[in-house]
């Protein structure tokens, strides 16, 4: 209230509104007020759960009390959970499987996204809008639905592909057995992810000034040369962004293998790290190890993202501004 009166009086006295606004205390707090809702939500729904998870990761359930069964009580256990996480060979195996999956899924998703974006960006392209939407639509299909849909196409009894190969006398295709499983899972991610990544790359291509293309054409470059020598280097920031998204997405692989799990024996309860976390938290009722594993996975994700960013930046700063 007092600030309001101060403001009106100062306006009258000085007569230069710009000068008073700069001095005003209420205006200075405005950014914080605007930030407040986001900050509160961030603290309540991100920071507190993260701190709680870290705290939980140093706890353990131990048995207490008489009777046959006793009761489990939560006690401080130091680094016990972290020791058991790192000494569990299944975790390394899980990351190994994640690696194989990522090696298939990430390059193919990005490669196809770049290819489609470049093709759509060619001036002579026809039905561009239709193609763009057609490639993008799978991204709108929820992950679980996509996995179920593909699951039906993979199961020997319902698969149209296996139906054809069987009719030709080659037997069924082992989509859901090792090693075909990796390709099958990657395929679901590629199918769903290409459209999204393509839109990001395509948008960055549309942002390139057309004078550059004119100059290239005057120099005698054809469309392929323009694509490879001009468009791709200029779209590198978008490619880095999509690469990081894809990497994080890979580390968070969960929905697809979990959805396909009931259909095959090849996917174990600890097939990827997130499935292991789910198992510990909700099947075997061991929240502390689940928390420890979550912390490890989160730190790993941050480190991998930082490494990718650093490599990309170094490469970027060499060629371009």
């Amino acid at each position: 209230m007092s600030s309001l009166t101060a403001r009106s009086s100062s306006t009258r006295q000085a007569g230069t509104p710009q000068a008073t606004r700069r001095r005003h205390p209420r205006v200075r707090s405005a950014p914080y007020l605007f930030l407040a809702p986001a900050l509160v939500l961030f603290v309540v729904f991100m920071l507190i759960p993260i701190v709680y998870a870290i705290w939980l990761s140093f706890q353990a359930y131990h048995l207490e009390g008489g009777g046959i069964l006793g009761h489990r009580v939560q006690v401080f256990s130091g680094f016990e959970n972290y020791v058991s996480v790192f000494s569990n060979p299944e975790l390394a195996a899980g990351f190994g499987r994640l690696g194989i999956y990522g090696l298939i899924a990430v390059p193919l998703t990005l490669g196809l996204a770049l290819l489609f974006a470049l093709l759509l960006d060619v001036p002579a392209v026809r039905a561009a809008r239709f193609s763009r939407i057609a490639i993008f639509i799978p991204y709108a299909v929820p992950g679980v639905v996509a996995a179920l849909l593909w699951g039906f196409m993979y199961l020997p009894g319902t698969s149209p592909f296996s139906y054809i190969t069987e009719a030709l006398g080659f037997g069924t295709i082992g989509f859901l057995d090792n090693p075909g499983l990796f390709g099958s899972l990657a395929n679901i991610a590629i199918w769903g992810g290409v459209g999204f990544n393509m839109i990001i790359i395509y948008t960055s291509l549309r942002g390139i000034p057309s004078e550059i293309y004119e100059a290239a054409r005057l120099d005698g470059a054809n469309e392929v040369q323009i694509a490879l020598r001009i468009k791709v280097p200029l779209a590198v920031p978008a490619l880095v962004l999509t690469a990081i998204f894809s990497l994080i997405g890979t580390l968070q692989l969960y929905g697809e293998p979990t959805t396909l799990k009931p259909m095959t024996n090849a996917i174990s309860q600890s097939w990827v790290p997130l499935m292991m976390i789910y198992r510990d938290a909700f099947l075997t009722d061991n929240l502390p190890t689940a928390a420890a594993l979550s912390v490890v996975l989160a730190l790993g994700t941050v480190i991998v993202s930082a490494i990718v960013l650093r490599i990309a930046n170094r490469r970027n700063s060499g060629g371009m501004s």
Partner: protein, 433 residues
């Protein structure tokens, strides 16, 4: 981009707040006894809603609100989480297998005091499933003595006798596999922990037992390892397959008549009817094959009890509903006819004899006589406090063994070692068998 991410997190968070607001308004309080109380009840058994409606009609002072919480692992996880968060329902269905882990996690209330008057309504074998160290933690609702539903039409056409022993079962499996290569007698995948535990129990194994406060784990005892060898050989000979059950693939095989049986328990007809209604009339229920000809005892696979949770504000009223639903004659009739379950009470099982056979086998007029004979000789099973851990370890280990062609017994031994280690770490006194 970061701002976008934060913005979307904020949106989700706000939605979460709104949802939380909605759900908290549903909670009720009021501990006074003369005011009508409202109880919440979680289950997954089909028809539970109708049984609850019946109760509400006749009991104006105790209103029960039913929620279908989904079956199996999901519901036990949900119950544990809700219980820790302090908003567990007053009553919940719990499978016998996970009841010990629930007790350890402090979910169910000791209801010994409330249920003294209904103990005699159950056989001691059934009652033992919910009694630990003299304390009762739930009232048995349905039981699943192991049984053998099979395609009588196909076995007859192939001229294969109904297997009475597992030896016969093996021969039948091989004969079917030879006669029709695309057809299997049964699929018994690694995730059927309950099945393997059941047949090992039938063979004299004891996967968990407890004496004087000390646990013994016998997942790799001699009887169980013999069972492992036997089923491994059958799998290698093609007598059984090990593909997962209840997948679109398995359902298709059941529908087209290339999956000829499901060694499981008395609850199976309802499940098969659900996935392959067109095969009704072609199935018959038989006792589970035995390890020794002439034996009759079988273990339990599945079945559940209804617990009163520790957090309940009205334990007395909750126990009253529990008794009405699961221990009374009225409840048994409803369970039998509305929920199509095989009731746990002696009265309910007697009552079953005079009812019509399940829809899957309308031609088998002696169905409930067979069922009564099967359930007359059951072996009580003790499940360990880390059943879910054992199940998940066993499934992963056995699947690996099947995929790599290594001995199944190694998977049993690996599970045994992991379970003992897990229990020791949790603070139990454990010995290997």
């Amino acid at each position: 981009m970061r701002s976008k991410i934060i913005a979307s997190i904020a949106t989700v968070a706000v939605a979460g707040l709104a949802l939380a607001g909605c759900s908290s308004s549903g909670a009720d309080s009021g501990a006074s006894s003369d005011k009508p109380v409202t109880l919440t009840f979680w289950s997954w058994a089909p028809g539970s809603q109708k049984i609850v409606a019946e109760w509400n009609k006749t009991h104006p002072n105790i209103h029960v609100k039913y929620t279908d919480a989904g079956g199996g692992n999901d519901s036990s996880a949900k119950l544990l989480t809700a219980s820790r968060a302090g908003n567990a329902p007053d009553l919940a269905a719990v499978e016998y297998t996970t009841l010990p882990s629930m007790i350890v996690a402090d979910v169910p209330l000791d209801i010994t005091e409330y249920v003294k008057d209904v103990t005699d309504n159950f056989t001691s074998g059934t009652w033992d499933q919910t009694t630990f160290d003299g304390h009762v933690y739930g009232i048995p609702q349905d039981v699943g003595p192991m049984a053998f539903p099979y395609r009588s039409d196909k076995l007859q056409a192939l001229n294969i006798p109904v297997p009475k022993t597992w030896e016969d079962f093996d021969k039948a499996g091989v004969a079917i596999h030879t006669a029709e290569p695309g057809t299997s007698l049964a699929s018994l995948p690694a995730d059927q922990f309950g099945f393997y535990a059941g047949v090992a129990t039938q063979a004299g194994g004891e996967w968990w037992s407890v004496k004087n406060g000390k646990w013994t784990v016998g997942i790799a005892d001699d009887a169980s390892l013999k069972v492992a060898d036997f089923f491994e050989k059958m799998s290698k000979d093609g007598a059984i397959t090990t593909d997962p059950l209840l997948t679109p693939e398995w359902n298709k095989q059941v529908n087209e008549g290339t999956m000829l049986s499901w060694p499981s328990a008395l609850w199976a007809p309802g499940v098969i009817q659900g996935v392959a209604p067109s095969t009704a009339g072609k199935w018959t229920m038989a006792p589970l094959p035995q390890w020794k000809a002439g034996d009759a005892a079988v273990a339990y696979q599945g079945g559940s009890a209804v617990i009163v949770t520790k957090g309940s504000k009205h334990p007395k009223e909750a126990a009253e509903f529990d008794k009405w639903m699961n221990a009374s004659d009225t409840g048994a009739k409803l369970l039998l006819n509305v929920a199509n379950a095989y009731p746990a009470t002696i009265f309910g099982q007697k009552e079953a004899k005079s009812s019509k056979p399940p829809a899957l086998m309308p031609q088998q007029t002696d169905y409930y006589d067979v069922a009564a004979k099967i359930s007359a000789d059951t072996i009580p099973v003790t499940w360990g406090p880390d059943f879910n851990f054992a199940q998940s370890t066993f499934t992963d280990a056995l699947n690996k063994a099947i995929a790599n062609g290594t001995p199944w017994r190694d998977a049993f031994i690996a599970t045994q070692n992991a379970v003992v280690k897990d229990m020791k770490k949790a603070g139990y006194k454990v010995t290997n068998k």
